[in-house]
């Protein structure tokens, strides 16, 4: 299964989505994205952390140090109210875009163009 590079600007949305079910640390987010995309999407750690910190700076996520189940210290990120709103917006926009791209890509060639 070949992996696909993420579309520009979608990583933030994916992270927000991954955090929708509760606080997660960075590693868990990569694992979750990988699992949910059935191993197609591979998030580079080199992009993940800058993205996480950017989201934090914008106030969409909040970070705190906690213990993992394996009893290790890790930095957990959780959605803020603003982040939740942002996720809804981005999701809606994403759906529109998929729809639009799909419309273009899946339309049969116009008649008379054979």
């Amino acid at each position: 299964m070949s992996r696909i590079d993420l579309l520009q600007g979608t990583l933030g949305m994916l992270i927000l989505r991954a955090l929708q079910w509760g606080p997660q640390h960075g590693y868990a987010i990569t694992q979750a994205l990988r699992a949910q995309s059935e191993d197609i999407l591979q998030v580079e750690t080199g992009s993940l952390y800058p993205a996480l910190h950017r989201l934090e700076k914008q106030g969409w996520v909040r970070a705190e140090w906690r213990q993992t189940e394996a009893n290790q210290r890790a930095k957990f990120y959780s959605l803020t109210a603003a982040g939740r709103k942002q996720l809804t917006q981005e999701h809606a926009r994403w759906k529109q875009m998929v729809q639009a791209i799909g419309n273009i890509m899946d339309t049969a060639p116009a008649k008379g163009q054979s």
């Binding site: 960075g26 868990a28 750690t45 992009s47 952390y49 800058p50 290790q72 210290r73």
Partner: protein, 864 residues
Amino acid sequence: MRDRRNHELDEELRSHIRMAIADRVRQGESPEAARAAVLREFGSVALAAEDTRRVWGWQWLEQCAFDLRYAARSLARTPAFALAAVLSLATGIGATTALFSVLQHVAWQPLPYRNPNHLAIIWNLDPRLANPQSPASYPDWQDWRQQAQDFAAITAFRNRPAFLRSGDNSPQLELHEVSADFLPLLGIQPALGRLWRDDENERGEAAVISDHVWRTQFSGARDIVGRRIVVSQVPYEIIGVMPADFRSPSMATQANIRLSPPDSMWVPLVPRPVQKNNRGNRGFRMLARLKDGAALPTAQRNLSQLAARLAAAYPDSNKNITVQVLSLVQSVTGSVRPALVALMGAAGLFLLIACANVASLLLARGAARGREFATRAALGAGRARLVRQLLTESLLLASLGGTAGIALAAVCLQVARQAAGSLDVPRLADAALDVPVLAVAIALSTLAGLLFGLMPALRLTRFADRGGTADPRGVRIRQMLIAGVTAVTVVLLFSASLMLAGFRTLTANQDTAAERTFTFQTTVSGTRWANRPFDRQFCGTLLERLRQLPGVESAGLTTNLMQIGDNSGTVITIVGDAPVPPERRPMAAYAMSDAGFFPLAGLALRQGRLFDARDHNSAPGVTVVNEAFVRAVSPDTPLVGRQIRLLGVTDTPLEVIGVVSDARPFRLGVQERPRAFYPYTQSASPRVIAMVRMAPGGGSPINAVRRLLRELEPTAPLFEVQTVTNLLDKASASPRWGSALLALFALMAVLLATLGVMGVVSFVAGQRTRECGIRLALGSTPAAIQWLVARQGFWPVAAGLIAGAAGAEAANRAISTYLLGIPSADFTLLVADLLMLAIAAAIAVYVPTRRVTKVDPALTLRCD
């Protein structure tokens, strides 16, 4: 904060890696293999951390911190350079800042009155006077008041020293006679009590005292209002105390307006009939307030027209008399402002030289670091990045210099405040390092840093674009810098030597007896001595008893210590000469004296005789005049034996019996004016200044004088006790400080310029060592080689000297006009300065070039 975040980021990334490894191990990989796989997958941890940090937006700051550390290290590697640069910058910034503070507080800060910008002083201008500014007469004042529409009020004031009678002492205070609307015009109310009522204005016997008098003479008594006091034999009732900081505009010398001394008292001005009726009797200073919306130039124009109408209506007294309206702040600080501006200009020029020198040093250092920059450029540093780093270095230098400069300025201002008492500079005691001054210091430092940093930075990094390691010598630029520095130094040096030469004339040939010559003043007005013929008796007795005191060598009396006192003048006419139109009649100052006064004041007899026993009360009136008088009145025909009239001084004509030399001026830019002296035996004044010269080792006569005076008249005050040396020092303190400062700037500038020339030439010498070696090997003579290198320093210095000579001419004109009052056509000074600089430059060129002649050709050719 940043460290903590860095630490947290590290930990976050490490926890990520730990968990990834743990997962893999759980899936059955060996810990080593798991670790390797994770790290491979993760990529560069440092890069991830770097990218994340960039999100925080602190990268710029971090780079700055890096640049700063780098700059500090590279400066520390060349401590001599750093120290030289910081010290010269500190001196320039410190001096400019300190002088700015002085200028700001002395000349620019508004005066503490209501609407101070609307306050103005109105002068009469009398073309016959050496300094044409003169007070106004009562009738003129009244006409102005009624007819000048631009002023809300025109008030009158005058002031003189007076004495409070209080037990055995007679403390001196300044008595200000002011018109009723004077204090209200300033908008300041008394802190205690009130101002005058109308009836009190007319009698003039109600007084308002200053806070300082209240505290020191009356111990700050709360029941001060209503007390009765006697000041200079006149009774007053105290009706008010002014606030602590209040100082009114007052007269310092003839044409100088200052702020009143702390010990002051204000009483209503009650003009005497002779003043009310005589338009030529000009004794009142005018303080006016412009109406809202009225502009000074308009007010000046309208008042000039009014003065012209008065001159036409009263030609006898007002012909050619014009008016001048000056803002109060300009009147108060007018005389010191040009000097301060000149000094600040000098400090600014010095700072400029320091900047040029640092720039030149930076260029030399940069050339030596060419490889470093080329390497950094090759490794991917953009030009902007390199310029930024070089600028960081120069800004670091500038801020170090600025910090040291601010400390220096603080010290200078401390000294200035302490010297304020002896300097004739108003409000100098207020000068301080406050926020605006600090802002200026910081701005100056930054500006200096950019000034000396930007050019070398741009210059040194240019090669980076060319991508090679070509050597940016920048010799041309540094030659231009040298020329500029030399020119500025010429101007500074010449200005300083001009000032010093002017000052020398003041202090040259100072009489060694001045130190044992004491002066004091006293007055018997209001006592039984004040009327004829007792005033003559008082003077005679005082003189006689003074001469009898032990240790006294000689004594004399006068009413005016010429160069210091109030130099009021009067119109002179020569009896028997054709009448001269009033506006061309010469004027002279006049003073009472006795024969003993002339040698004490350093006035030598040139013609005729001094006063003696022949000039008694019933003998014909006589006068002794000075040489300036002869020049002004009768330059061609001998004056001794002629009769002259001093308008308003004596009723009968006086015969000129002698001519004495001019007094040496006490101030820069003051020329001796015509003076006439009359003997106390024929017309005595109740107020006298005595001069007593003690025999060498005679000590101070003051206690004996005090006893003597008390025996003669117990209420007579003794004041202004000083040695003539003190008087001279006081009078020349400001120009002395000014010229000393200027000379200091000039000397430091010469030093800097010399170092600058030396730096450039030795740099060129270093650059061309190989070339010189080759030339020597090919048969060139050492002298020719030396000239080859010396040329590089010679031309810019020569160009600088020529440009500087032109600039010096301009400086000469400015200094002559504003500071010395007399144009100096003396070019020997300029030539001497140029010569001195040329010699310094020759040494600066010669020393480094000697090195190239010692080059061993074989060695040079062999090396690398």
